[in-house]
Amino acid sequence: MINSLILSYITFVYFGSFMLYLFMMVNGRDIFGRLATIVTAVGFAVQTIAIVLRWLESYSLGIGHAPFSNLYESLIFFAWTVILLYLIMEWRTKSRTFGAFVTPLAFLALAYASFSPNVRSHIQPLIPALKSNWLISHVITCFFGYAAFGLSFGISIMYLLKRLDNDDRKNLFLKLIPGKGVLDELNYQMVVIGFLMLTLGIITGSVWAHSAWGTYWSWDPKETWSLITWLIYASVLHSRTVRGWKGKKIAILCFIGFSCVLFTYFGVNYLAGLHSYAKS
């Protein structure tokens, strides 16, 4: 299947752009940064084509469905949303320094999808429970949420690193990271986007569960963990807007929040539950 072959190559493309962003940070030459943007954008375009190909291919197999139906396809889509949000952020902020912290997420997701023996890459027909119009809206909202939280995680790491920087220190890498105020503001914006998307994801999921399983909320581990994630980010927003927390505390909370996202995504597969089709 050509699409999964292309997608496995994209893994290396994103690894390449990660290295280029890193070179830019280490030796400060802008050419690496510009190259990194081009490589990332080309990788993104090709990945988009591969996803569309996969979609078309499922139709030619007679089991047509959007490519959001199992772990492999979700990882591919996660990488895609991370890169999309990243490219938008790079364009809006005119700063390439985030690249070195964000592209690894996409690269790792693709590597896991393409090279782990536990992840099956072939197109499977949809089981009855997944045959619903809610599949697309549920997956898209959830994964944009995850991606925004992923970016917030990258920004939080940058923030914590930037704290090590001071005038005496002549570390180019740290100097290139944008100022703490900018990072804090961007982090907040990412959390807002992620929180909105996660909320929409949980709501679309409930509407779907209501028609598929009979209840809009059944305390299935994945549901519960998404709620836990939601509660953590709700605390982030409250502590920031009402109690005025900023900087380090928020960065650490976002760190915890993203660990919950990862557990919601991967960890719950080790717990019994209704979302079993997302395991392989």
Partner: protein, 471 residues
């Protein structure tokens, strides 16, 4: 008014519940409790197995804390209730502030906003503006609300604002959380969750509640006329479908089909296609051979429980039990023969007698209970077991669900108001100078300063255009 306020402020309980610290602590406790709930299997099969693996002391400790059905326990509900109360009191406590920010109109002739103006926010018109109230006032009225103007000496000020409702977005979100919680409560008080298995061709009027496994009369009857499973080429299931008929007082009322993801509703009760299975024993095909003569074979198709005559009227035969798989030896039926003379005999007839001989120890295999030739001179063969499908339906009633959807909708609307709108106030100042009029545009926004700066610049440009059009 002021005295009641100080009363509130001094009330320790009020202070406790109006603190955001409490909110954050509650959110974190709820998160931790939920984590525990996902680690300990809740209800059902998994919980039973897990409970068996525990020492009695641990078991009683965990079950005293209701940790096997945590999400329905009193303490978890108290936590949710605490969060609800906290939400209400926080919101009430802060509402007057938000109302003030919404309703207070600042003086139009404030000069503070005009400090530190970007050059893009001022321009110069070479003539004296004759009727500024008409031109600029109208212009602002089209775009902004609650416009005001005032003249002071050489200057004329205009004020307008937009998006004041943005202060209430947070309250919309908080209200939506309460509505969702209320919807959940309504569902748990006035609804039920149950299940039922209906054999194809069968009819039921009672379902089993998940809570306590007690029966519940529906008040109408449901029959499953047909159950179908479709498979993909690779063997994975494609679709489950139950064709159901509903009866009231024995009279057929409605025919509908339930599919996965497409439940059906009847009299406020929703039926979901949840599972299915096969039950052996709709009909049994037995072959009977006379001992000596292998060619003399009679085939009987028998419904379990219904007596049939033996071929030569030596008595009657009843299939008393049907097993899809008896002791791991495959399908078998228990046959009871009541001869016209002599004693009753009963024995099991296996579909595959070789396996019985191979697997069971010889004395057992030779037991009369397993001997299909026990009723002489006949030997019985189990030729075919027709199995019947049953459909597993989830049967729910939840009058709270629409309340929950309303809450969800409000929550999303609230997010948009809170995060993507802001209270924008703008001032325009006209200062008459020797050679004409200087017009400056200034403003403040409750959120998104970058976007607001763009808005101010656009506004300035549009204002400039109105004057240049007039020439």
């Amino acid at each position: 008014m002021t005295s009641s306020k100080t009363d509130k402020k001094s009330n320790a309980l009020w202070r406790f519940f109006s603190s955001v610290k409490l909110t954050i602590v509650l959110l974190i406790i709820l998160a931790i409790a939920s984590i525990i709930g996902t680690l300990i299997p809740q209800q059902g099969q998994g919980a039973v197995q897990f409970a068996k693996s525990l020492s009695p002391r641990w078991f009683s400790f965990l079950s005293n804390l209701n940790l096997f059905d945590m999400y329905h326990s009193l303490w978890f509900r108290l936590l949710l209730g605490g969060l609800g109360l906290n939400l209400i009191i926080c919101s009430v406590d802060r509402f007057s502030g938000a109302w003030k920010r919404f309703s207070t109109i600042p003086r139009p002739d404030r000069t503070k906003p005009f400090e530190h103006l970007q050059p893009e926010q001022t321009f110069f018109v070479q003539t004296k503006i004759n009727d500024p109230v008409l031109s600029i006032g109208r212009f602002l009225q089209k775009r902004y609300k609650r416009t005001q103007n005032k003249e002071t000496g050489h200057d004329r000020f205009f004020y307008g604002e937009k998006g004041g409702y943005s202060h209430f977005g947070v309250y919309l979100i908080h209200l939506s959380v309460l509505i969702i919680l209320i919807g959940g409560l309504v569902g748990s008080f006035f609804g039920f969750e149950a299940y039922v298995n209906i054999l194809e061709g069968g009819k039921i009027d009672t379902v089993t509640l998940r809570k306590g496994m007690s029966p519940l009369k529906l008040g109408f009857e449901v029959s499953c006329d047909k159950f179908t499973v479709d498979f993909y080429k690779n063997g994975a299931p494609k679709e489950y479908r139950s064709d159901l008929t509903f009866f009231i007082n024995g009279k057929e009322v409605e025919k509908r089909s339930a599919l996965v993801n497409h439940p059906i509703q009847f009299k406020g009760v929703t039926f979901y296609q949840a599972s299915y299975g096969k039950l052996p024993g709709k009909k049994v095909r037995l072959k009977i051979a006379k001992h000596a003569n292998k060619d003399d074979i009679t085939t009987l198709v028998i419904e379990p429980g219904h007596p049939v005559q033996l071929p030569e009227k030596e008595g009657q035969l009843i299939v008393v039990d049907v097993k899809g798989d008896l002791m791991g030896l495959g399908a078998a039926v228990q046959v009871l023969i009541q001869p016209s003379q002599g004693e009753e005999v009963d024995f099991w007839v296996f579909q595959n007698p070789q396996i019985v001989r191979k697997r069971l120890p010889a004395p057992m295999a030779r037991s009369p209970k397993f001997n299909a030739s026990e009723f002489k001179p006949y030997t019985f063969f189990l030729d075919h077991l027709e199995s019947a499908y049953y459909t597993g339906l989830q049967v729910n009633k939840d009058p709270g669900v629409n309340i929950v959807w309303i809450g969800c909708f409000m929550m999303v609307a609230g997010f948009f108001v809170t995060f993507f709108t802001s209270h924008r106030k703008i001032w325009v100042r006209l200062s008459e100078e020797e050679s004409g009029t200087k017009i400056s545009v200034a403003g403040t926004a409750s959120k998104n300063p970058v976007g607001f700066q763009r808005e101010l610049e656009n506004l300035t440009n549009d204002l400039k255009d109105t004057f240049s059009e007039k020439g």
